[in-house]
């Protein structure tokens, strides 16, 4: 072997402990891996590190993430893809794995039909009834439901790992809403993109045919044999661990991504709430678990599903893939009986071996388990998550005793499995290769009278060298999974995840009201962030000047500006209410809090955080450039928060950076999203927020009559805060006067930042919203904004700038602004009530607070 290889592998041999994919027991290299190894040698380890960095960068750029529940830093964690793929030769793949997966999918399909049908397996003594009846996933509500599709189990996924005998074993079955196919696809594209050279002369099977089968299966499942059924992807939402994949698949397949609150059951059918009307849904590809799908019949506390959905399924008016209830197959209690079931149906043995398992519901098996507990892995039949698995070799006496007691109380709920050491494969870590445990998730899709198997799948790698277990929940590493062939394969067709390929929504009428609402709020939060940041920046500038030139008027105007901050950001008491004397002693402290305190309503940090949430909910709409800019904002924020001293200069600089990026981001929104995709809603939100804040600013700064020099300083700050000073100078070429400022920022019909212009713009956009006959609320929101527009058009500068009797206030101005503010608020409320679906919340008729299923 050449020297380079030696360095790459220098630790590999010493780390090598158990069965390895790459090294044979006699320390020679598995021939299937040889070509790949040679490529690595050609690339060299330092180049390989560069490639790995590039993969990491690409994953981050593309926003490929994985959320980790119950971890404050776990949201949107970057997906880890190792540059070294995992490979299997097609001989092994086709002769056993593919056949074995098809056999197991067929078998589980029959088991599923039987469990919710005749239950012959139980009646004939093949399967103990407790394995089904004591499993939480057995939903009696789904009993005897008939489906149109030939296969009831439409998607099947199995985790495989190579056992000590060198064969691939089935470790677990995933049947409700298996995750991973999207990540598998993205892994392939990423590797193909970054290291195309390693694919050269290696024939890797491509998975695109499988995704066509997935699409065809979804179309065929539509209950009414429609040519062009309406298909949606149902997600639990942005907090779900695999939310990235939901948006990715929806975008790749071209179906709308929806949440439970987007859907409604009426007249025995399922509908998608769109801006214009209800649109019938024929097929749901779901990523929500069984129990959460229908709060009427299943878990009462679920907000992820649709009330009444099960009855629509019973009446065959909608198909759900996989059907509700299929979680019963995620059942380790089935394992000991699978071979007998296989013999019962097919008169043959299982092709893929399983881990030896003992169901404690049988006396003999239970006795064996209790006397060998220390050597076994114990789980409940219906809890497959890692937290609920007992690795008995690591338990102390007290814990073992407790477990024994639990088993004896309800033995039928427990299964024990032999502990197995699965194979390792090379993983690139710190410039060298290291053996790590791997687990392969494979996928099957119902296709006519058989199943189509994805060539490859998703390989997950244990988080560190000593770890026995492999799990994404902990944020592990993944690998591209190659099935290599002797024959030349078609190259990977070009598809990259990008907003431009998103054809899910073609018409604003079909925009789901949930998406519409998120766009609207994106507009509002961005508008608020920008106005707030600019305003705080102006005040900081003034504070800076005051340090060098502190005279009486300067002090007075600054005092007024501080108070205006509280008004504009609505962060009372602040500089106005109780305790303000204290704040005036150290105003910077309050301003820092208004910038950085995420828990403070009205602060810049809090507004940006709110935007963050809408942003992730909409991720399938954003382009890559937007990701990049947004990521930049987040990074700025992170770095800045760590700083120890927040001087005026530093804060100003920070706000400069944030403002520039916000503006870039807003410009990108306008060029990346079509009006019909919902940009209209974004604009309405943005303009509404900006207009509302403009009104607040005018009320805070223009209403009170100040002495001349103070007035001047305030007007200057006011114009600066909306970057309008240059325009003012260009338009009026004069000393700053209240009259001219009112003319420019309130009444000018052409200037984009004037209130008149903004209100006109809102009216124009509100008038473009879809209008359904018979909905009088639509008319109301149009009426309100029209009234605001008429109001502002009727205003004259003379009347507005007139003073009250004792010459302290411009009362007319304040009254007019108050009325406009009310009208803007009412318009916003009406838009929300008419187009968004949260005006009424889902509730139980009787609040039952039952324990969870």
């Amino acid at each position: 072997m050449p020297n380079k290889e030696d360095t790459l592998f220098q630790n590999y041999f010493s780390s090598y402990k158990a069965y390895d994919e790459f090294l044979k027991t006699d320390m020679s290299i598995n021939t299937n891996w040889k070509k790949l190894l040679n490529k690595f040698s050609e690339i060299g380890y330092s180049n390989l590190q560069a490639k790995q960095n590039e993969v990491n960068w690409l994953m981050e750029e593309n926003g490929v993430t994985y959320n980790v529940y119950n971890d404050p830093n776990g949201m949107h964690r970057s997906w880890n893809l190792n540059v070294v793929p995992f490979l299997i030769h097609e001989n092994e793949w086709e002769s056993t794995i593919e056949k074995g997966l098809i056999q197991r999918a067929e078998l589980l399909n029959l088991v599923l039909k039987d469990i919710y049908g005749k239950r012959e397996l139980i009646k004939n003594g093949i399967l103990p009834q407790e394995v089904v009846f004591a499993h939480r996933g057995f939903l009696r509500q789904c009993d005897q439901i008939q489906y149109k599709a030939t296969k009831t189990l439409q998607i099947y996924s199995a985790d495989l790992a190579r056992g000590p005998d060198g064969r691939m074993w089935v470790v677990s079955d995933r049947t409700q809403a298996p995750s991973g196919m999207g990540y598998a696809l993205e892994n392939r594209y990423a590797l193909n993109n970054v290291v195309p050279d390693i694919f050269e002369n290696i024939n890797v099977k491509q998975p695109l045919g499988f995704f066509n089968d997935l699409k065809q299966m979804l179309i065929d499942s539509a209950p009414q044999n429609k040519d062009n059924p309406n298909i949606v992807v149902l997600t639990p939402g942005p907090h779900n661990e695999t939310y990235f994949e939901h948006t990715y698949l929806a975008s790749f397949l071209g179906y709308p991504l929806v949440m439970g609150s987007d859907l409604v059951v009426r007249n025995g059918k399922l509908w998608l709430k769109t801006l214009k009307k209800l649109k019938q849904v024929d097929v749901i590809l779901r990523r929500v678990d069984d129990a959460f799908m229908d709060p009427l019949e299943l878990r009462e506390d679920s907000y992820l599903g649709v009330a009444g959905l099960l009855e629509v399924v019973r009446e065959q008016q909608v198909a759900i893939v996989n059907p509700i209830g299929s979680g019963i197959l995620e059942n380790s209690g089935l394992v000991p009986f699978m071979n007998a079931i296989c013999k019962y149906y097919f008169k043959e043995d299982l092709i893929l071996p399983q881990i030896a398992s003992w169901w404690c519901g049988q006396k003999k098996e239970c006795d064996y388990v209790l006397s060998h507990l220390k050597d076994l892995v114990v789980k409940r039949i219906d809890r497959s998550n890692r937290e609920k698995i007992f690795f008995c070799e690591f338990l102390d006496e007290a814990a073992l005793k407790k477990l024994k007691h639990e088993i004896l109380l309800a033995p039928y709920q427990f299964v024990a499995q032999e502990k197995i050491s699965f194979s390792t494969a090379p993983n690139f870590v710190d410039e060298s290769l290291e053996p790590r445990k791997v687990s392969c998730r494979t996928f099957a899709i119902a296709k006519k009278d058989s199943y189509s198997i994805m060539s490859g799948g998703l390989v997950r790698v244990a988080a560190d060298r000593e770890k026995l277990f492999v799990s994404n929940q902990r944020g592990g590493i993944s690998k591209d999974f190659w099935v290599v062939s002797e024959q030349t394969q078609d190259p990977l067709q070009n598809y990259a995840w990008d907003a431009s390929t998103n054809n899910g929504v073609a018409d604003i009428n079909d925009l789901s009201s949930n998406t519409a609402e998120n766009l609207y709020w994106s507009g509002r939060y961005l508008g608020r962030s920008l106005v707030t940041a600019r305003y705080l920046r102006v005040v900081l500038n003034r504070m800076n000047q005051e340090q060098f030139n502190s005279n009486k008027t300067n002090k007075e105007s600054l005092h007024i500006l501080y108070q205006s901050i509280t008004n504009i950001t609505s962060t009372f008491p602040g500089f106005i209410g109780k305790g303000s004397e204290e704040l005036f002693k150290n105003p910077l402290q309050e301003i820092i809090s208004l910038i950085l305190d995420t828990d403070r309503v009205g602060s810049l940090a809090q507004t940006m955080n709110s935007f963050n949430n809408s942003y992730y909910s909409l991720r399938s709409l954003w382009s890559k450039d937007m990701w990049r800019v947004f990521d930049g904002i987040k990074k700025q924020w992170k770095t800045f928060k760590k700083a120890e001293d927040f001087s005026i200069a530093k804060l100003t600089k920070f706000l400069d950076r944030i403002i520039t990026r916000l503006i870039a981001f807003m410009a990108l929104i306008e060029e990346s999203i079509l009006v019909n995709q919902g940009l209209l809603l974004y604009f309405i939100g943005l303009q509404t927020e900006q207009a509302t804040m403009q009104v607040e600013k005018c009320r805070a700064l223009l209403v009170v009559n100040y002495e001349k020099q103070v007035q001047y300083e305030i007007l200057e700050a006011f114009l600066n805060s909306s970057e309008s000073l240059n325009i003012y100078r260009y338009s009026y070429r004069s000393y700053l006067s209240v009259e001219n400022v009112i003319k420019l920022v309130l009444l000018d019909k052409e200037y984009a930042k004037s209130l008149t212009y903004q209100i006109k713009r809102i009216e124009k956009d509100v008038n473009r919203l879809p209008y359904s006959v018979g909905e009088d609320t639509v008319a109301t929101c149009k009426e309100k904004i029209h009234k605001a527009y008429e109001m502002i058009n009727s205003l004259h500068v003379e009347a507005l700038s007139g003073l009250n009797e004792n010459e302290t206030l411009r009362q007319n101005l304040d009254d007019a602004l108050a009325e406009i503010s009310d009208l803007l608020h009412q318009t916003a409320m009406e838009v929300s009530n008419t187009y968004f679906n949260h005006s009424y919340t889902q509730k139980q008729l009787t609040n039952q607070n039952f324990p969870t299923l």
């Binding site: 139980i122 009646k123 003594g125 009834q129 407790e130 009846f133 004591a134 009696r140 509500q141 009993d143 059951v265 009426r266 007249n267 025995g268 709060p295 009427l296 019949e297 009462e300 009330a307 009444g308 009855e311 019973r314 109380l409 309800a410 039928y412 005006s839 009424y840 919340t841 889902q842 509730k843 139980q844 008729l845 009787t846 039952q848 607070n849 039952f850 324990p851 299923l853």
Partner: protein, 296 residues
């Protein structure tokens, strides 16, 4: 005995409801010893959708939805029931049934006969009767002994619950866990039924929940007031070699003609008389009125 039963549930919504989906398990059963002569379900406002189906346990389940804005919902089930419990098998006529002890009963339950397999689901934990505590088991074992007749033991269990527990409608609700009830020894019929079921399952025997009505009799010489009755619940135990036998721990008796059966389930969760999902923003108030009287 021919009864006329009326069961009305009404809801008042503070701000109204835009629409709702509901499920009612409210229609009395047709079975040996109980015939539904007449049955009518009145719902106001009139539902847009309405269906009647059998559920997993063989109960009639009514699903309906109302799609117009409404401020009150009223569901009234009116039925005429002919009750003659003497037609059903009587445990007092079965020597075997009265005598079978715990050891023998458990042995029969291990056999793989079809009807036994079917009954075994009522030995398992259910949603409201899960993680049965050692306290409950200890309470059960005072009555259930290996060599004692399980009929006798169940009868005694019923008597003990009747004597040890205080009927008090103000301490529990439908979600109060059985472990609280066994400690406080207070509750309503549904709590008592579930405690009994938990006890029976803790010794390895099958028990199920029965929801229905009971005719209450006015004090001698007084006329019965309308609406004084309520939905009722009791339990049933499966006695191998005989079959299901009902017991009412709230009234300390084996139900006969005064008990009308609506539904069977593993516990209350399987058979709530009325549940639903509503879309509204305010509070709501519920009222239930049941009236049972001999039909004229």
């Amino acid at each position: 005995m021919l009864y006329q039963v009326s069961h009305t549930t009404s809801y008042k919504y503070q701000y109204g409801v835009t629409f709702c989906h509901n499920i009612a398990t409210i229609k009395p059963k047709n079975m040996l010893g109980q015939t539904v002569v007449d049955y009518k379900l009145e719902i106001s406002p009139t539902p847009t959708e309405f269906s009647e189906k059998l559920d997993f346990f063989g109960n009639t389940v009514t699903r309906f939805s109302i799609q117009e804005h409404h401020k009150t919902l009223k569901v009234t089930a009116l039925s005429k029931i002919l009750r003659d419990s003497s037609l059903a098998p009587n445990i007092y006529e079965s020597e075997m049934g009265q005598q079978i002890n715990l050891i023998d009963a458990l042995a029969v339950l291990k056999t793989e006969k079809l009807h036994i397999i079917d009954v075994r689901q009522f030995m398992l934990e259910s949603i409201l009767i899960a993680n049965i505590s050692s306290e409950i088991r200890a309470y059960a074992e005072e009555s259930f002994k290996p060599n004692r007749s399980i009929f006798e033991a169940t009868y005694e269990l019923m008597e003990r619950i009747f004597n040890d527990f205080e009927f008090n409608p103000n301490v529990t609700n439908v979600a109060t866990p059985i472990h609280e009830v066994i400690t406080n020894k207070k509750g309503v019929c549904q709590d008592f039924a579930q405690i009994a079921i938990a006890c029976i399952r803790s010794v390895g025997l099958p028990a199920r929940y029965v929801s229905g009505y009971i005719e209450t009799l006015p004090p001698p010489g007084k006329e019965k007031l309308v609406g004084t009755d309520a939905s009722h619940a009791w339990f049933s135990i499966y006695i191998p070699t005989f079959g299901w036998v009902d017991f009412d721990p709230t009234n300390n008796q084996i139900p006969k003609d005064q008990h009308i059966i609506v539904a069977y389930g593993r516990d209350y969760y399987d058979v709530p008389p009325l549940k639903g999902v509503i879309y509204s923003s305010g509070e709501n108030k519920m009222k239930v009125a049941v009236d049972i009287r001999p039909a004229v």
